[in-house]
């Protein structure tokens, strides 16, 4: 009997409290509300699987399109010119070439080097600057 009690006191009770501490018995409990995360689902019930990170990407692209639309309304004609690649480009073309080029810069970096992507981000910005300046 004493042996049984001492077994419960020395082995089972500490184990049970350890289990409690590691989350046993709280399966049905509401998780603690976490702070904002860029990578958590934004609207879990909605089917498009948005996250803040991907939303920002699209907001960026649509903002860029909106900006060139506003510039186009202010000064129509698209600022057409013949760049150093021998192509006649408007502002929209230059934005498109910048974005498409950036996609390839990121993909190439991911394939050859991997993450993180700070260096290709710099390269993509240089490429975009080059596109708007010279192409």
């Amino acid at each position: 009997m004493i042996r049984c009690i001492s077994f419960i006191l020395t082995v089972l009770l500490p184990l049970a409290s350890a289990a409690q501490a590691s989350g046993w018995g709280s399966v049905g409990a509401e998780p603690e509300p976490k702070g904002f995360s860029w990578t958590d689902p934004l609207w879990p019930e909605f089917w498009m699987a948005w996250t803040p990170a991907t939303l920002v990407v699209f907001i960026g692209i649509f903002t860029a399109m909106a900006v060139i639309t506003v510039i186009e309304i202010r000064s129509p004609g698209g600022a057409e010119r013949r760049g150093i690649l021998g192509l006649t480009t408007t502002r929209g073309d230059r934005l498109f070439i910048s974005l498409l080029g950036s996609v390839y810069i990121f993909l190439a970096w991911l394939g050859i080097v991997g993450t993180p992507l700070w260096i290709p981000l710099g390269l993509a910005m240089l490429w975009a600057t080059f596109c708007f300046w010279k192409v």
């Binding site: 990578t39 990170a53 192509l87 993909l107 394939g111």
Partner: protein, 287 residues
């Protein structure tokens, strides 16, 4: 700028809304999927750029991409010259013109899965007309269900049969638009047949040919139904083109994340090549 000019946008609006719902919204969803993992039930876990990294380094993707470029390159190399030759040999006037045009248009009227099924039945080694003739009558081993080379020959022939007509019709449209005066001038100068083709017909066909190459590139690069019905990507993986592999990953393995990443890379390639073609096409107009 005149105000009336802006009204045109309202007429385009329905199309823009339609495109937004059938292309843009799904496209944005694909981007969202490509950085997450899901086991169904609309529950997603962030995965970052892992799928892209894995895919860009995977032998399976490289092999499928290589097969895709090989397929597209081969069918372009066959269909474009063949289409021009057929268009050049078609009558320009007389009662045979509509007959030729209808005959040319026939393969394109057949639904894609039916084309695949037709060629499958036609080339099966034991019951197909061609398969039986080759194997049992002529004694030439030809089994597209077992032999990768035979499978490739079959899908290439099928595509050539199905789509050369498009090149023919476009090239023909370019040819009939050449005024007679050009040919008469060439005749007076004593130009050879090759010179007429090189300096009159080919330049006049340039625009339509570029459109033909662009259309054939995009269609063949995105081809799915015909080779899937014909060979199912086999034998082994030998005719698993990019889209067949994509569908296997997305719907067979239900790996939506990697499939979404693959779709985006696929899209980037198609977009780049189409842009290059479009730029080449419109480069001369802008001068």
């Amino acid at each position: 700028m005149k105000r009336d000019y802006q009204k045109g946008w309202f007429f385009v609006l329905p199309v823009l809304i339609l495109v937004a719902f059938n292309a843009l919204v799904p496209m944005m969803t694909v981007v969202n999927y490509s950085v997450q993992e899901t086991f169904g039930d609309n529950i997603f876990f962030w995965q970052g750029l892992d799928w892209f990294e894995q895919l860009l380094r995977s032998d399976r993707f490289h092999a499928a991409l290589g097969r895709q470029f090989l397929f597209t390159g081969m069918i372009l190399a066959i269909e474009v010259p063949l289409g021009i030759i057929i268009a050049l040999s078609m009558p320009r006037q007389g009662p045979w013109v509509p007959v030729c045009l209808v005959l040319m248009a026939l393969p394109m009227l057949i639904p894609w899965n039916v084309v695949g099924a037709m060629w499958n039945i036609f080339t099966l080694p034991d019951i197909g007309l061609l398969g039986y003739l080759m194997n049992h009558t002529l004694g030439i081993p030809y089994d597209m269900t077992q032999n990768p080379t035979a499978a490739w020959i079959t899908i290439i022939t099928m595509d050539v049969w199905h789509w050369t007509s498009l090149v023919v019709l476009l090239a023909y449209a370019g040819l009939v638009s050449i005024p007679d005066a050009y040919y008469q001038a060439a005749k007076i100068d004593g130009a050879s047949g090759w010179s007429v083709f090189r300096y009159i017909q080919l330049p006049k066909m340039k625009t339509v040919l570029t459109i033909a190459i662009l259309l054939r590139f995009m269609d063949s690069f995105n081809i799915y139904t015909e080779p899937f019905v014909l060979t199912g990507g086999g034998p082994g993986n030998s005719t698993t083109l990019l889209s067949i592999d994509l569908v296997k990953i997305a719907l067979g393995q239900f790996d939506l994340g990697p499939a979404a990443a693959m779709s985006l890379i696929y899209f980037a390639i198609t977009l780049l090549v189409s842009w290059v073609f479009y730029t080449l096409m419109t480069k001369d107009d802008a001068k």
